[in-house]
């Protein structure tokens, strides 16, 4: 298992540093272009959701990525925030036409489609919200 972890400021412009961090992980493990695209997108969607929707919280959000054989695990941890239940996010009607579609909800829909597992947990004691996803690499 190889794992890396870093804290990033709770703001959208932190994405530049996040892409550098994820890019270094991708390069170190020589992951293919399709996997690289997916990992960037998963991390961006999880991070921007935390920045936009987590109420309260400190100055930084912790991002960790690890590779264990052919599985990538991504985790974000945010302390001092309110709980979040992803099941409250409505499904996107992706087969609907433009008249029936409304903006929003796409981020979590993309994540759900691209990962093998998506799990949120919340520790009441330190009001810690943790989201973790796993993605199995294609052979």
């Amino acid at each position: 298992v190889t794992a890396v972890s870093r804290s990033f400021d709770r703001e959208i412009p932190a994405l530049d540093g996040i892409f550098d961090f994820v890019g270094a992980f991708i390069a170190r493990h020589e992951l293919d272009e399709r996997t690289a695209f997916s990992l960037n997108l998963i991390v961006e969607e999880l991070f921007t959701n935390f920045v936009r929707h987590n109420e309260g919280g400190g100055e930084q959000i912790v991002l960790a990525i690890e590779k264990n054989n052919n599985t990538i695990r991504i985790e974000l941890v945010d302390d001092g925030v309110e709980p979040f239940d992803p099941d409250t996010v409505a499904e996107v009607p992706v087969r609907a036409g433009i008249d029936e579609r409304r903006p929003g909800g796409l981020g979590i829909h993309l994540i759900r489609t691209m990962v093998d597992s998506l799990h949120y947990d919340y520790e009441t004691e330190n009001r810690r919200l943790r989201v973790s996803v796993t993605k199995t690499l294609e052979p």
Partner: protein, 94 residues
């Protein structure tokens, strides 16, 4: 890096990475679009939901006015994301 340029033929060219950090700048550009255009994606490497949402909102406004975007040059990864998002129903994609 993310750039939006419009050439003399009216084609809008997207280049680089269209992530959430670029959306405010892109929004001011797309808010000024009121007529049909082709958008060339051939130099766009990456897009996430923030960029998709902006393109969707602009397309919706255009369609209501009888106009529309046509998209060309999507790389295979972006084409897959458009399909997952159901945007193959929303845009004409070459």
């Amino acid at each position: 890096m993310f750039e939006i340029t419009t050439t003399d033929d009216g084609v809008i060219h997207l280049e680089g990475r269209f992530d959430a950090a670029q959306v405010d700048r892109a929004r001011s550009f797309f808010e000024g679009i009121t007529t049909s255009h082709t958008i060339d994606f051939s130099k766009l490497a990456y897009i996430a939901s923030a960029g998709l949402g902006l393109l969707f909102a602009t397309q919706k406004r255009l369609v209501d006015a009888g106009e529309a975007f046509k998209l060309t040059g999507l790389n295979p990864h972006i084409r897959e994301i458009f399909k997952i998002a159901g945007f193959d129903n929303i845009f004409e994609i070459e």
